[in-house]
Amino acid sequence: MRPILKRLDVGANERREIVQDEWKYLGEEGAPVAAAGAVAPGAPAAAGATITAAGAALIVPFVELAKYRGYAGRLGVLLSPADAVEDLGDDVKRLSLVAVTFPSAGEGRGFTQGRLLRSARFGFEGELRAVGAGVKQDLLFIMARCGFDAFELAPGQKVEEALRALDRYSVAYAPAEPVPSVKLQRFHAA
């Protein structure tokens, strides 16, 4: 059981909910495992060679993604800070979820990964989830502004405080993804 803080209907009438995670990470209990004959990473997905059996909604690490292109269920990917979003290629269209890792408070590459995924260049519209030990209340506001709509809170985080933290500022300067608490913003994108 893993609670996820979710922003639903992101926009003016946004709602927040704490839901039990319906996704499984590759290798955790209840997750499908790679079948024999799975293709090597990067190789074209040949019919029959990939995993097609429907199972739980599955999150695979980026390096494993190629093997799971043919996965019949909902598919998500877990990015590490060093992963380049460009390398997702056309898989962006196939993915229902991208989980971005914030391993510590100081690691800020995930903000750019999120922002790029939500830009027109990548156009990712699925669930953008922040995961890792760095997902704590003091970063939630800027994570939301970078386009994150789901937060797998680090252990020990208080849900009520996290919910409040999402609305910490009513103003902002730089253009970013809309969050409902921000009523005034100075600069705007082209």
Partner: protein, 551 residues
């Protein structure tokens, strides 16, 4: 100067509320040391040798008299009655109590000030030319653009957790008085053939452990694209800057590693591809901000002979501590924070209040902080200079040494800073004592001494004509001397003259160096010019020959 609107005020107020809650959680044990560190640094709060140190932002060095008075009050009430101005034109308080910091920030917010992003791996306080708006050689006033950058950088959602700190400087003059070439991004105001404002953009400069001079990444970025271009640079840096080694994490290391040509390609590609998420400046907004920096209501006055019939002390002050002004009948006057026997950049609460009063009387209620750790009254009527001098002299702020050897830059050093390897203040006092004779100082002319207590280089030692770097040698404080550094005109990094010297020998070593200059100089040649002509060798030989004789 810029006045906060509803958005700006709400932002700093909410920031104070956030930090108050973070401090409460830390003191209640709900936030670990590491978690609190990440947020306190981004609010200017260090844990130092004796106490916390709070670094208050003075954006592009501009202060109203009301703000300076408030800084004096805060230093009196929450600290020991003085503050220290830094090379980023910030004010540091060395003895605040952690539990008081939220109250200090709340007081700052009442005068439209803050300490946001004065430390931490994020975009720091933006600096500018201290003669902005009054310089004779200016394309345009850089301060409105500094203000735009200040706002854009505040809690930037994507760039608040960078690999390392990130510093901007903006200058509008031909002469670079903002050390812009040793900044992560240096912006030089330019006009294109049609007269449109834009910026020459330099990237990858910086001091610290690996000093590097910035390189031009783009000759002209039109004003509407200023922030989108900076976004692109920051995005490339945030993605590819090193995070595995704190000493190799600045953007200068990335630019050096990939080369400026490839780095430029990456930035330009990113810039073109991400227009939909990048800010484009609205000219109405730019005009709104520019309007706050309109020239004050100057009177129509003739130029006068301010020194005629005055005593030599005033004439010396006029010559060294005042600068020309683009408006006839006015001059800019330095408030020297380099009195002999005082710590460079330090100012007492009483002095802050008195300078604020003086600014109200003679300089439109405005004061500027210079990156050389002095203050400046920018708009003084020439006819009032004599009265200003008398008042500053009474306050101990008229030491006529601006631009001379004792107008030295020094970080707080080992006495306060937990990063330092060696003290700077004792050495500064030694040098002041050794060079106490003003006639001798004036004979030496323009010499910039810059001193840092460690290789982080807060005292800009790499770009001092004479640079002094404190090093730790088996638990003793030693000092490495460099010569030939410069940031004005042609930026250059100093060259090490030889083995470091003991603390007791620094001032005498400096004296030997300037004596070699005196012996070698040709007519009217400044120290840096002689150095460039004759090179480091004669200095090296002279200094160490004298040492071995003594030994």
């Amino acid at each position: 100067m810029y006045q906060y609107d509803q958005l700006d005020q709400a932002f700093v107020d909410q920031r104070v509320a956030e930090f108050r809650d973070q401090t409460r959680r830390f003191l209640a044990g709900e936030l670990s040391e590491d978690e609190f560190k990440a947020v306190r640094l981004r609010n200017g709060l260090y844990i130092q040798r004796h106490a916390p140190m709070l670094r208050i932002a003075v954006p592009y060095g501009l202060l109203s008299s009301r703000q300076l008075r408030k800084l004096g009050e805060i230093a009196q009430r929450y600290d020991r009655g003085y503050g220290h101005f830094t090379t980023r034109t910030n004010l540091q308080l060395n003895w605040p109590k952690l539990a008081d910091v939220p109250d200090i920030l709340a007081e700052l917010a009442t005068v439209q000030m803050h300490s946001i992003q004065t430390s931490g791996n994020c975009i720091r306080n933006v600096t500018a030319d201290h003669l902005a708006g009054i310089a004779l050689d200016e394309v345009d006033d850089p301060r409105p653009y500094c203000e735009i950058i200040r706002q854009w950088a505040n809690l930037h959602p994507e760039f608040t957790y960078l690999p390392r700190k990130f510093k901007f400087a903006v200058t509008g003059s031909a002469e670079d008085r903002a050390a812009s070439e040793v900044h992560d991004i240096g912006l030089h105001l330019r006009r294109d053939a049609q007269g449109n404002i834009g910026f020459q953009v330099l990237v990858g400069g910086g001091l610290g452990r690996t000093p590097i001079i910035g390189q031009v990444i783009r000759e002209f970025v039109p004003l509407p694209d200023l922030l989108s271009y900076c976004d692109a640079i920051l995005r490339v840096y945030n993605r590819y800057g090193r995070r595995d080694n704190i000493h190799k994490a600045r953007i200068k290391i990335l630019v050096k590693a990939v080369g400026i040509a490839k780095f430029r390609d990456q930035v330009e590609t990113e810039w073109r591809a991400s227009q939909d998420i990048s800010p484009r400046l609205d000219m109405a907004e730019v005009e709104r901000i520019r309007a706050f920096f309109k020239p004050p209501a100057y009177e129509s006055l003739p130029n006068i002979e301010a020194c005629a019939g005055r005593e030599p002390e005033f004439q010396a002050w006029y010559r060294y501590n005042t600068r020309p002004h683009k408006v006839c009948g006015y001059r800019a006057a330095f408030v020297s924070l380099k009195a002999h026997g005082e710590n460079p950049g330090d100012i007492s609460s009483a002095q802050m209040a008195a300078v604020a009063d003086l600014a109200d009387r003679v300089s439109f209620g405005m004061v500027r902080v210079t990156h050389t750790q002095n203050l400046l009254l920018a708009d003084v009527k020439q006819a009032e200079l004599y009265g200003v001098w008398q008042e500053l002299r009474r306050l101990g702020l008229a030491t006529p040494n601006i631009g001379t050897l004792t107008d030295m830059i020094a970080c707080p050093g080992l006495d306060f800073c937990s990063l330092a390897n060696a003290g700077t203040l004792k050495v500064a006092h030694q040098i002041q004592k050794q060079f106490d004779d003003l006639d001798y100082l004036y004979d030496l002319g323009d010499i910039e001494i810059k001193m840092s207590g460690c290789m982080n280089g807060c005292g800009h030692h790499h770009v001092g004509h004479i640079g002094i770097l404190g090093v730790d040698k088996h638990g003793e404080e030693w000092y490495q001397i460099t010569l030939g550094g410069s940031v004005n005109g042609s930026t250059a990094l100093g060259q090490v003259i030889g083995p470091s010297v003991a603390q007791a020998d620094v001032a005498s070593t400096i004296e030997r160096i300037v004596e070699i200059y005196r012996a070698e100089r040709e007519d009217g040649e400044r120290f840096i010019e002689t150095f460039r002509r004759i090179g480091v060798k004669p200095f090296k030989e002279g200094v160490y020959a004298a040492h071995s004789e003594a030994a």
